[in-house]
């Protein structure tokens, strides 16, 4: 009698146990609950040198590039993932997609072309504004503005770029206040939003991804903020 009772108990126990294992596998594979990988995102307008910088850091080589259509991702220094997002306006959906994936974004590097500041200032301002909005949404607290292409003749120094960009950001803030609502209005309280955006610290550093000058300055800053 005792053995029967014991076997019956074991049999009864295995059924819920089996279903528990099955369902936990199911949920685990469905949601892939994994630890969030730390990541650094490269963003910025098109043709600013993000992919070149990415190759310099990951492959330690200067590779020839074309306009990116999709993001590049790779492991750097064995514990951080670098994500290079394409900068063209038509590839904006990738930014949203990548931001919603399970990355623990430690910092964002905004790469811009120091040599075409005069022509692109407004575009850079708008792009940086978008980045700041996303940083606030995803609680990213550090942004490095890498003033790339410093080797070119018409490149402006970082201080000059800093004043110009911050002024442009102010103009954009003013203009956004006067904009029409989109057909879907987001629940955004502009008065609260603006100081939050202005609080995000921006560090402007010059360098050249192609020639490798000042690269270690950028790397140092990236590592120090991890």
């Amino acid at each position: 009698m005792l053995e029967n009772w014991w076997t019956i108990l074991v049999a009864l126990a295995t059924i819920p146990l089996a279903t528990f294992i099955v369902f936990s596998l199911f949920f685990a594979s469905k949601k892939t609950i994994q630890k969030k990988t730390p990541a650094i995102f490269f963003v910025g307008p098109t043709e600013s040198g993000k992919t070149t910088l990415f190759c310099q850091l990951v492959y330690e080589k200067t590779k020839s590039t074309v306009p990116s259509i999709e993001p590049n991702e790779a492991l750097w220094k064995d514990d951080i993932v670098l994500v290079d997002l394409p900068g063209h306006a038509r590839t904006k959906h990738w930014t949203e997609k990548k931001l919603n994936e399970s990355y623990d974004i430690r910092l964002v590097v905004f790469v811009l072309n120091s040599a075409t500041m005069d022509r692109d200032l407004h575009q850079i301002g708008l792009s940086l504004f978008d980045v700041l909005l996303k940083c606030r949404k995803h609680k990213i607290s550090k942004v490095l503005v890498a003033c790339n292409k410093f080797d070119l003749f018409t490149a402006q120094p970082a201080k000059q770029i800093q004043t110009a960009v911050l002024k442009e950001l102010d103009n954009i803030f003013e203009e956004k206040e006067a904009q029409l609502d989109a057909i879907v209005t987001e629940d955004v309280d502009w008065d609260q939003l603006r100081p939050q955006l202005q609080d995000i610290p921006l560090e402007f550093l010059s360098g050249s991804a192609l020639k490798g000058t000042n690269l270690d300055q950028w790397i140092q800053w990236m590592e120090s903020s991890l």
Partner: protein
Amino acid sequence: MLDLFAVTTKGGIVLWKTSDSAACQKCLQVLFYEAFLSERRNVENSFHQGRFTIQFQESIQNSIVFVVAFQDAKAEAFTQTLLNSMHNVFINLFQEQLQKKKLPTESDILNNFVPLYNAKLAQLSKVSEKEKNNVQETTLLEKPKAPSREKSRNKAHASRQAPPTSKKGKKELRKWDDQLTSEEQEALNYSGKTPDVAPTSSQLSNVIGDTNFQKTKKGDVVIGDLEADPNQNPSATSSTAFSFFSGLIGGKYLKEDDLDPVLKKVQEHLIQKNVANSISLELCKSVKKSLIGKKVGSFESVKQTVNAAFRETLTQILTPSTSLDLLHSIRAVQKNEDRPYTISLIGVNGVGKSTTLAKLAYWLLSNNFRILVAACDTFRSGAIEQLGVHVRNLQSLKGSSIELFAQGYGKDSSFVVKNAVEYAKKNNFDVILIDTAGRRHNDQRLMGSLEKFTKATKLDKIFQVAEALVGTDSLAQAKHFQASLYHRPLDGFIISKVDTVGKLVGVMVGMVYSVRVPIVFVGVGQMYSDLRTLSVDWVVDQLMK
């Protein structure tokens, strides 16, 4: 013969290229901009830059693009085969690395891929010399045989005799003789169908009915939310807990017969949402091209992948490549050029130009600009009075920084607009809003006078107003208005009366797709505040729901 052959990733890294010249680099850039980043998703494979012709092939699963560029027309004969074979060679050589998402290193490529490439190129160049001699003979032979051929697919442009090579990983050249053996037909057949089944089998399966969908196992076309199909209910429940058993087997690669029924359903759905027929056909074609061969994740059904691809395509089409920042442009012109900013509204009769003009005026007044409304509709009785009513309303709402400039009926509108600009300059107005007469887009005389009007003075922005209620005529409207402004592109569309169509907002897609002009504003009612900017996500949601 070939100026450039390059292998690049879609992330932007050039893995290997044969030439480092600046012209070739420009070719690559032009290709990427035109093929992947332009407003219209191109379904062609070849582009031009200066004297170069650029062709490419994508490997969709691995996100790699193979590019050739050449100036010599003789090379065109074998570039497609070269692309095909190099594509296969590359994928076979580096399959493991690509699956692990690692890029093959330069030395790998130099040692393994390049010699194969050189050999293939040499072979094809030699062969193309030979075939020029063979072409005359074989075309004579082929003509009497052609009627007896059942497979119309096999168009033999020229016959090529090449010894089949047995190098590992290298693709065998096709033998296109007068007669194909059945095994060669098998080799030529890259679709999942057997060559004996007529090409219309996908159409047949649609005619036979939905019973097909339930029988197949993994490639089941579950189209729940596009339309309430009673047949789908049993399979819908299978996508719960126990479906992961089948999911564990692994993802599948999409093939044409998986995609066709789903695409057809989506196409009909889009047509019901008031997207023009030709546009939805083109959209389906481009989505199909981007999805063939793609790997479906284990938990996704074909329907979900297709929907996601459509969403992406629609978002890409509707997202403008440069954002219109009207306030910024107005201020820039004010600061730098010290002249009034001119915005003109054109469109067919009755779409809402005068109402939209009033809405724009209301908005610009809220930004403290001085507005002059120029009544260049000198044809329709009551047009000037209508604008007068709006101006009076706005004056009472917002003060006297808005005025109406009118010179009566029957005058030439280009004359009126010139006077309006002068008046505005004299009296320090910031913005001139110009209302024009509605005109049928297929009336040559009226479109001609519109052309004259736009050349009369410098117009900073020309917006075409179109109503969301219009059907397929929207495409013709967009094309004709754009054509009449051949010396400058339309700056944007304003789609009015969107509140009347609910979900059926397909007009937007058609107009943007056909002339590559973005939508800048959307009108959602008859009050002054009923003007919105376009939210691409909302439109895509409405279209795909």
